[in-house]
């Protein structure tokens, strides 16, 4: 059953006087519980697709539907609330808030919920436990390695128990060992916790962990490989 439905999406950007078409009628589905790697050369529209699914960007035309919600027609305020409930996002460069500890960074999405302080603390402890950083709660990002920062970032993405986890080049700045740890973690989130994951990557090892791989080129879906 499709959790994410993208129907006839057109997306174009205007740079100076030039209009650049990213998609001209893209249609693709992502099933519930799937683990999909989006691959393709730079400029093929991978990250744009992730932004559309996350409601961070809007299609020029067409529909983006996630778990029955028409994301493409929501206003900014509705999108913010929807993202808080349904999307966990992981960035290539971790993007932790440097002034907050690991615990506070992970707690950030929960501040938007009605959970009590105690409940938030419990959820944060569980999320940091899942990523294996229960002993780093009071560390600031500058006190963590790159791999640890990315794991905190993943904990922040899963702490609110989102419908969908979106990752944009999560291993792009990590060494081989740290990349492996992150990929094992993602596989565990998919296998054990049944999370739907879409990951944009250039990393072949990341793609190997995914259950399906979509290749984009110039905004067109050129290949879909299921494992």
């Amino acid at each position: 059953m499709a959790l994410v439905e993208i129907r006839d999406v057109h997306k174009s950007f205007t740079r100076d006087t030039q209009t650049v078409d990213v998609y001209t009628g893209l249609t693709v589905d992502f099933d519930e519980g799937s683990f999909t790697a989006l691959m393709g050369p730079s400029g093929s529209g991978k990250s744009t697709l992730l932004n559309l699914v996350a409601g961070l960007d809007k299609p020029t035309s067409g529909e983006v539907k996630v778990a029955g919600a028409m994301v493409s027609s929501m206003n900014a305020s509705q999108l913010a609330g929807w993202r808080a409930r349904h999307v966990g996002f992981v960035f290539q460069s971790y993007n932790l808030l440097p002034v907050l500890t690991a615990q506070q960074n992970v707690e950030l999405p929960l501040l938007l919920t009605s959970l009590s302080k105690k409940e938030r603390a419990e959820r944060v402890a569980i999320a940091l436990g899942v990523v294996g950083l229960e002993d780093r709660v009071d560390h600031y990002p500058r006190q963590l390695s790159g791999g640890q920062e990315q794991r905190v970032s993943i904990a922040r993405a899963i702490v609110a128990d989102p419908t969908l986890i979106l990752l944009d080049e999560p291993t792009g700045q990590l060494d081989a060992k740290s990349s492996e740890e992150v990929l094992v973690l993602l596989q565990r989130l998919n296998d054990e916790f049944k999370k739907t994951i879409i990951v944009v990557t250039h990393d072949a090892r990341a793609a190997e962990r995914a259950k399906s791989v979509l290749h984009l080129d110039k905004g067109v879906l050129v290949e879909a490989v299921a494992r």
Binding site: L56, A80, R83, F89, F91, N95, V99, L108, L111, L112
Partner: protein, 380 residues
């Protein structure tokens, strides 16, 4: 409240910058409140002065005395119910660094004329009985540690020589604007030592109807118009207002400086807030990705500005309140009753709120309107 740690963490990001910004706001509000207090203190004398007391002084110059013989003629003017007089002594105590006003007064009539100077009855009687006795305000007790029974020697400047007085009473002004730092003694004591030169500096008359003041004024000034010492008469309120009016340009200057300082600090604070915001474009984008709405981002930035402005306001206004207490500024005698009024506090709080919004609105709008995808592209 759950967002407070986030606000405080952001403020602690550049501790020195935050501290300096708060210090700037504190200094601005300290100056604003202090300068405004000078203005309100100058005005307060006129506000509390009685409209049923009139003052006659020499029309030629304030410093030229009037003949004592005027007292009986003034008492005979219709509507005048009592007359007293006083003289400026102008002495100094010790090294003279601490200034306070000294007045030779006719004790009985003067104290009856000014019920605002509250004096215990036994002290009053002791003062009236003794020719070299003096009555002082509570401010002089605080300034010099004087107490009842102390012998105090002043060096005369207008009336040369050492003048020794015994303190017999300590008054408490029932209205702050009357000041608590005056030194009053018997006119007779002054007169006996220098009868050739001593004469009343001004007369004070009580009238039975404030509405009759213009008529009383005209009668008195007409009576002495062709004498060697013509008078200038007015109500005490008009006299005080005229005194305050002499400071007119100073008041305007102080108000202008106060507003200029606030405006300058507004620019400093606004710039600091904008710098903070520019450095956090990526973080704001991340927060929006996590689910923070534009409205919530806007509020968080405004709250940051509010914490800076209100902390600065508390420190600045607090310092302004403490200034006259700690420095003894109000005991100098020039501005009796110098204290930060509730009105000034309210205006100061208003200025702090204005600073909050004026300095926070641009960065808050900028953060709230930040397009997430473009911002992420810059940091990714």
């Amino acid at each position: 409240m759950k967002f407070l740690p986030l606000v405080l963490a952001n403020l602690a990001r550049h501790k020195l910058r935050t501290v300096l910004t708060i210090a700037s706001v504190a200094l601005a509000l300290f100056l604003f409140a202090s300068l405004r207090t000078v203005v309100t203190t100058l005005n307060s004398g006129a506000e509390v002065s009685s409209a049923s007391r009139m003052i006659s002084q020499n029309a030629t110059a304030f410093v030229i005395p009037l003949p004592m013989s005027y007292a009986t003629r003034l008492a005979a003017v219709p509507h005048v119910t009592a007359v007293t007089w006083a003289n400026w002594f102008g002495g100094k105590y010790g090294d003279g660094k601490k200034f306070f006003g000294q007045f030779a007064i006719d004790p009985e009539s003067y104290l009856r004329m000014y019920p605002e100077l509250a004096l215990p009855e036994d002290q009053k009687q002791a003062f009236l009985r003794e020719r070299t006795a003096a009555v002082i305000g509570e401010g002089l007790v605080r300034a010099f540690g004087w107490k009842i029974g102390d012998n105090i020697t002043l060096q005369g400047t207008i009336f040369p020589g050492d003048w020794t007085f015994t303190i017999r009473g300590i008054y408490h002004p029932t209205q702050k604007a009357y000041g608590d730092d005056s030194f009053m003694f018997h006119y007779e004591y002054l007169y006996e030592r220098d009868p050739e030169r001593v004469s009343p500096g001004w007369f004070i008359m009580a009238i039975d109807d404030p509405n009759a003041a213009p008529q009383v004024q005209k009668t008195i000034d007409d009576m002495f118009r062709n004498s060697t010492a013509p008078t200038k008469t007015g109500t005490e309120k008009a006299f005080a207002a005229g005194f305050a009016g002499m400071w007119g340009n100073v008041k305007l200057l102080m108000s202008t400086i106060g507003m200029a300082v606030v405006f300058a600090i507004l620019l400093v604070t606004g710039n600091a807030m904008m710098m903070n915001q520019r450095e956090r474009i990526g973080e704001v984008a991340v927060m929006k990705t996590v689910g923070f709405s534009d409205r919530r981002i806007f509020i968080l930035v405004i709250v940051e500005a509010a914490v800076i402005a209100l902390t600065g306001a508390v420190l600045g206004l607090g310092a302004a309140i403490l200034l006259p207490i700690v420095a003894g500024f109000g005991e100098g005698g020039f501005l009796p009753g110098f204290h930060v009024t509730p009105g000034t506090m309210a205006v100061g709080a208003g200025v702090a709120l204005l600073l909050t919004f004026a300095s926070g609105i641009a960065p808050a709008l900028s953060a709230a309107r930040l397009p997430v995808v473009q911002a992420l592209r810059r940091v990714e």
